[in-house]
């Protein structure tokens, strides 16, 4: 019977394809959150596997903080075009300008400000479902997520009152205004993602590979030095995220392990220049992937608190 056996990647793949197709079958206006990061790159391949030869029946949605790595944006746009998909981009900058999002005093990170932008994009396009690339192995609060994560009309996640998920039967029923977040990669680990990227020969943004970059030390991490401020007559978008004279600087051979935006992504020193190298690094890693994410270090329950108010 060995020929009727799925290895772990095939197993995870068929589970994720099933979920993608359930979304296409059960929702009127689903979208797929595509950032250009490694997890959402896998999502796109799974969408191809689920829906080809048809068009992928979901537009791609991305919320920009305004602090993105340029390589990521370039990759995101190119990949969406290759796939013939509609890419919708909404930005924190626009949201601040029109008052949908308001930064707190001295708030440099725009991670939290993505929440109102995402929610208003969902409202604007009347999306009833958003597929995301979150994985349960990333973080403790994520470990409690369902594949189909129900959100009320405020986008809120209620961890104590989740719908039970039994077998592969997902309850996608919504009342008007309700919303679903769906996570096909729930059971994938960081290692699975890289093994899948290798198996499928998927292109990833080159910042995942080793390169030379100037960084500075803050909060126990090496953060990339932001690009120069182009127009001194306007407010610096990276104000607060530039190295202070007291903060040590270093030009290092490094890469990103996980990508948020420039001001919340710690660079890891690494010579890994191929997917195989990265897989070797992940296998030997002694800190978790999110250990290099400044946004999660805010407090023990940082992710839990953000998810409750609508973070994906």
């Amino acid at each position: 019977m060995t020929s009727y056996h799925l290895d772990h990647l095939q197993h995870l793949e068929t589970e994720a394809i099933h979920i993608m197709r359930e979304v296409a079958g059960e929702f009127e206006r689903p979208a797929l959150l595509f950032s250009g990061g490694k997890d959402s790159i896998c999502l796109l391949r799974l969408a191809e596997k689920a829906f080809r030869p048809s068009d992928i029946p979901l537009p791609f949605l991305n919320v920009e903080t305004g602090h993105e790595f340029p390589e990521l944006i370039e990759f995101r746009d190119r990949r969406a075009k290759q796939l013939g998909a509609r890419l919708i981009v909404r930005t924190v900058d626009q949201a601040i300008a029109n008052g949908t999002a308001t930064p707190g005093p001295g708030e440099v990170s725009r991670n939290k400000l993505q929440i109102p932008v995402l929610l208003s994009a969902i409202e604007e396009f009347r999306f009833d479902c958003a597929i995301g690339g979150a994985r349960r192995d990333e973080e403790k609060a994520r470990a409690k997520e369902r594949f189909f994560s129900f959100r009320d009309s405020f986008g809120q996640w209620d961890p104590k009152n989740q719908r039970p998920e039994i077998w592969n039967l997902y309850n996608g029923r919504l009342n008007p205004g309700d919303n679903m977040r769906v996570f096909p990669l729930s059971n994938w680990t960081e290692m699975d993602v890289w093994e899948y990227i290798r198996q499928e020969e998927l292109e990833v943004p080159r910042i995942y590979f080793s390169h030379t970059r100037e960084c500075f030390r803050r909060g126990g991490q090496w953060l990339p030095v932001p690009p120069p401020h182009p127009d001194p007559t306007k407010a610096d978008p990276y104000a607060g995220a530039r190295p202070k004279p007291t903060e040590p600087r270093k030009t290092m051979v490094c890469r990103v392990r996980t990508i948020a935006d420039m001001i919340s992504t710690g660079m890891v020193e690494s010579p890994a220049s191929t997917v195989d190298d990265i897989i070797g690094e992940v296998a030997a890693a002694r800190v978790t992937e999110r250990g290099s994410r400044a946004d999660d270090k805010a407090s023990e329950a940082a992710m839990e608190d953000r998810k409750k108010v609508g973070y994906f």
Partner: protein, 454 residues
């Protein structure tokens, strides 16, 4: 100034064979026990001793040790993820954990023992290959142990492990271990569970979890991890009767490839059996027999596919088939009917009402359902059925009859988990209120016009 002098080209570097061999399969297990049986500690121990914890996780443990543990590392903090849980010291929802050894990848569903959260155990256990029932060696079998075992049996989890924990607190007594085993063996035969393994452990100290204990020379068996690595899960999937619930009709709108102009495929995950190109199949509910022209996948056409692969079938005839349709093989015909007989676990605080309408989701089809009869409720203490209960309330297990608005095409749950299961959804609130396991139908599907009848 930021300098990016990447030597890498803008494409993925060439892919070479990996160093380490890939894990061959995935084993899913869930842990169940009462509050304070040490579930979270056990999972923490498995992760810790199998070196699946990272330094930042250990640091976080050390940070919280000062707050809650009086300085000692509390392995339970690894899994009790939500703030509410840490404050109340309970696990309030199913949490999933992942780790791998060179032999296997593991998915743990950490399911809580609180009586009011039984629905989460059903959630966590429904896809499990193995259920681990934790028992406090001092307390022995309690109602929760019976409940968890009964649920595992009801869900037909193929393998059960009874981990007798806190053996250090009963002086590593072999007699006590055997006593607990006998308590279990007294009721196990009534539950139809085939494979049960008893292991004496101390999750707190790590005995027999990953490394063999020096305190149990009288126990010749494997450690818990050793058992999980070795247990034969084979194929949990049904490979006997072909079933494809159609999820989505694949019809390209603007195909660039002229060959795809008339492409019409039925996409879905095979829920049972094997399908081969050229094979005759029956399309339900139309009842028409046709031939599988192609088995289409993104990676190319394949001559055959099996459960649980996701595929797209192209049929020889243009037959009305959409989401909710089922394509089945001609051998091992599926059962059908509108009067259903099922075991259920009730999962909602509003009790099951006879005569009330629910949505019933079975494979990819959602129909309306009315509960026509409450056959019995299972008494968890005695494991006896109590006939004709007035209601089934939260966490009750029982047997019911339902009538549905359209015929279902299904199998008995004992034969096929995927085509034998359903959920009930409350109309209005959309809450998932029950998990159901179908008993076999007396009637089987047959082609519209044919000689195929049993």
């Amino acid at each position: 100034m930021s300098v990016l002098t990447s030597p890498s080209p803008a494409t993925v570097p060439s892919v070479h064979a990996a160093g380490a061999p890939l894990p061959v399969d995935i084993l899913r297990f869930n842990t169940c026990g009462s509050v304070d049986d040490g579930k979270s500690t056990l999972i923490g121990r498995l992760l810790y001793d199998s070196k699946s914890l990272m330094e930042d996780q250990l640091e976080a443990l050390e940070r919280s040790a000062d707050l809650t543990g009086g300085g000692a590392i509390n392995l339970a903090n690894l899994t009790d993820g939500l703030r509410a849980e840490r404050e109340q010291g309970i696990t309030i929802d199913v949490a999933y954990r992942y780790f791998a050894t060179p032999r296997r990848k593991f998915i743990i569903a950490d399911t809580p023992g609180h009586v009011q959260y039984t629905r989460n155990m059903v959630t966590g256990a429904s896809n499990a290959n193995v259920s681990i029932i934790l028992v406090d060696a001092r307390l022995g079998v309690i109602e929760q142990s019976r409940r968890h075992t009964a649920i595992a049996a009801l869900l037909r989890i193929p393998h059960l492990v009874v981990a007798v924990n806190k053996m250090d607190l009963v002086g590593w007594s072999e007699a006590r271990f055997n006593e607990i085993r006998e308590q279990f063996e007294a009721f196990l035969p009534r539950l139809d569970i085939k494979d049960v393994k008893f292991i004496p452990i101390s999750a707190l100290n790590g005995d027999n979890v990953v490394t063999p204990s020096v305190h149990t020379p009288w126990y010749p068996g494997p450690t818990l991890l050793g058992h999980l690595e070795g247990v034969h899960i084979g194929s949990d999937w049904n490979l006997n009767g072909f079933r494809l619930p159609v999820q989505w009709v694949n019809r390209p709108n603007n195909p660039t490839d002229a060959q795809l102009h008339d492409f019409r495929g039925c996409s879905g995950q095979i829920a049972g059996g094997i399908v081969r190109a050229g094979q005759k199949v029956l399309v339900l509910p139309t009842g028409i027999v046709t031939t599988v022209k192609e088995i289409w996948t993104y990676d190319g056409r394949v001559p055959e596919a099996f459960c649980p692969q996701s595929v797209t079938l192209v049929l020889a005839d243009d037959i009305d088939a959409g989401r909710g349709s089922m394509i089945v093989g001609l051998d091992n015909p599926a059962g059908t009917g509108t009067d259903l007989h099922a075991k259920v676990c009730w999962m909602h605080s509003r009790p099951l009402e006879r005569g009330k309408k629910y949505f019933l989701k079975h494979t990819t089809s959602t129909v309306q359902a009315v509960v026509t009869e409450l056959v019995h409720r299972l008494n968890i203490e005695t494991l006896d059925p109590e006939p004709a209960p007035a209601a089934l309330t939260m966490n009750d297990l029982g047997e019911i009859r339902l009538r549905v608005s359209q015929p279902l095409y299904y199998d008995g749950y004992a034969v096929n988990r995927l085509t034998g299961s359903f959920i009930l959804i409350e109309q209005g609130t959309n809450a998932t209120v029950a998990a159901g396991m179908l008993l076999p139908s007396h009637e089987v599907v047959k082609p519209e016009s044919g000689d195929f009848m049993i």
